[in-house]
Amino acid sequence: MTAQLPALQILLPMLASALCVLLRSPAGAWLCFTLATWASFAVSVLLVLATRSGAILSYEMGGWEPPFGIELRIDALNAFVLLIVSGMAAVMAPFARSSVLAEIEQTRVYLFYALVLLCLTGLLGISITGDAFNLFVFLEISSLSSYAIIAMGPNRRALLAAFQYLIMGTVGGTFILIGIGLMYMLTGTLNMADLAERLPAMADSRTEKAALGFIVVGASIKLALFPLHAWLPNAYAYAPSLVSALLAATATKVAAYVLIRFIYTVFLPERAFDGLMLSELMMALAAIAMIAGSVVAIFQHNVKLLLAWSSIAQIGYIVLGAALVTTAGLAATTLHLLNHAVAKGCLFLALGVIVWKTGGARLSDLAGLGRTLPWVGAAFVIGALSLIGVPFTGGFITKWYLLVAVAEQELWLLAGAVVLSSLLSIIYMGRVIETLYFRAPSQGTTRSEPVPVLMLTSVWLLALLNVAIGSYSEPFAAIARTAAGQLLGGTP
């Protein structure tokens, strides 16, 4: 049974997606979605337990021996990303029940769940596979389904946002495809571990540098790294609440994983960072993203847009850690994948409850809700504190690790950028919290029935998780250090 876990990780959501289409009823589809995400979360927990000491699991898909067949390869970083993706989906499943019924047409609910599950399949597949071309296929599975679920948002702007994401996303995906093709021409292999062994013989070849360039740009589009972030704010702002929360918590994390995996495992850091000034470039872009994202967030009136712009700033932190090429930096990045997912997931879910209640996500819709919906307001505040990086929240842990890693390299300017971006986040989150608690409620119509317990459960699970990681981060930090060590050790 345990030997088949890697395959189950992808197959569970994939088969559940087909089952959703067969079930057709909204309640049945939700139940199917919930059970599938919980089961795949259980699988990823088992995988983390199996790999956290530094062991590497290899699974031969269909019994074909790698490097000829497709290999699923799980080390500490893979398992950690799998845990984030499936964990977030599992926590958000109870929330989905009422939120989706309120925002999606009754007759399309089962298709919506099927697509969300397909998107999860793609994200989990990207994180688990050890084959470069297989990664591209899963990337397109997750992308295509996410364009469709973003377009199901209630406002007509969701359509245009989805279309713009489709254009940018396809260009990004195709760039990754070109990069993989060039590597294949050089080496004749698609297996990542095998590529890592064969590419050094091609060092100094211009084709190899071009391949690296294409993959870095392609992954950066998917990651929404400044200045390739144009698709992200609208896509997150106009998508249905569940999709905003789920994609914000998982999709960019997986894209960051793709970038790290290719640079560190396939090209090996000493060659990837040599000659192209990649490290300096990534640091500079990360710093600009941190500050520009936060500044733009301050001026937003739609809270979903505000959170989306803040995501762009947070992606800066993730990339900054990866660009440092040190164990401490990579460990900070790995931890931030988790902490940003938990904090942003909590904020988007709390906002999702407010959208369910009032029908809108503009600041004026939020006025005074902290008093009428105390539980939701409190969860939002916890998420906001974690995003800012207040002690005893998850966000503090990663900012601490990141600052230590930056200080280790004596890059004081970057340390200043991290601190400045945190200060700016106090301003934009402060604005929302001020509106939540100190403004008179607006006269708009709100739903009269109380907030469903299932919705609150999801929101509070994430809020408590923020505090739990902030108070006791050691197990996650240990995994992050193992992952960083494996990445720099050169073996995938």
């Binding site: 071309f133 591209f136 296929v137 397109e140 295509l144 364009y147 469709a148 377009a151 007509r156 702007r157 359509l159 245009l160 989805a162 279309f163 489709l166 254009i167 396809t170 260009v171 995906g173 195709t174 495809l177 070109i178 093709g181 294949y184 021409m185």
Partner: protein, 121 residues
């Protein structure tokens, strides 16, 4: 001259890729954007297929021993990418239909103007 003619396929790839990319960036019409995207992807298909070609090679079907075969794997890989391209085009066109229903236009400029008008009533 040799490098130019010898790498003929790759020149075609670059030219097609740039044409496609230019259309995606420069045109406001959403349908034209999708067509540009298609040309861009086609360039990549040719890139892959060129990589598998061997001069004088035949189809990789089991026949007389010692025959020279073209490499079949890039073709198989790109078949997958073609399917992805078809799916992307279909989804893109479906979105355009919905956009036209909702806004009454499929020129990006018009759509942005309509959105802005909605923001400032």
């Amino acid at each position: 001259m040799q490098t130019f003619l010898g790498l003929y396929n790759f020149w075609v790839v670059i030219v097609l890729m740039m044409i496609g990319f230019y259309i995606v960036i420069a045109h406001d019409n959403l349908v034209k954007k999708i067509i540009g995207l298609n040309i861009f992807q086609t360039a990549v298909f040719i890139l892959y297929i060129s990589a598998g070609k061997i001069q004088g090679g035949t189809a990789p079907i089991l026949g007389e021993p010692g025959a020279v075969y073209s490499h079949p794997l890039p073709h198989v890989l790109i078949l997958t990418a073609i399917v992805v391209g078809v799916a992307t085009t279909a989804l893109g066109l479906a979105l355009i239909v919905r956009i036209h229903e909702a806004y009454g236009s499929n020129e990006e400029d018009d759509l942005l103007v309509l959105d802005r008008r909605e923001d400032s009533p």
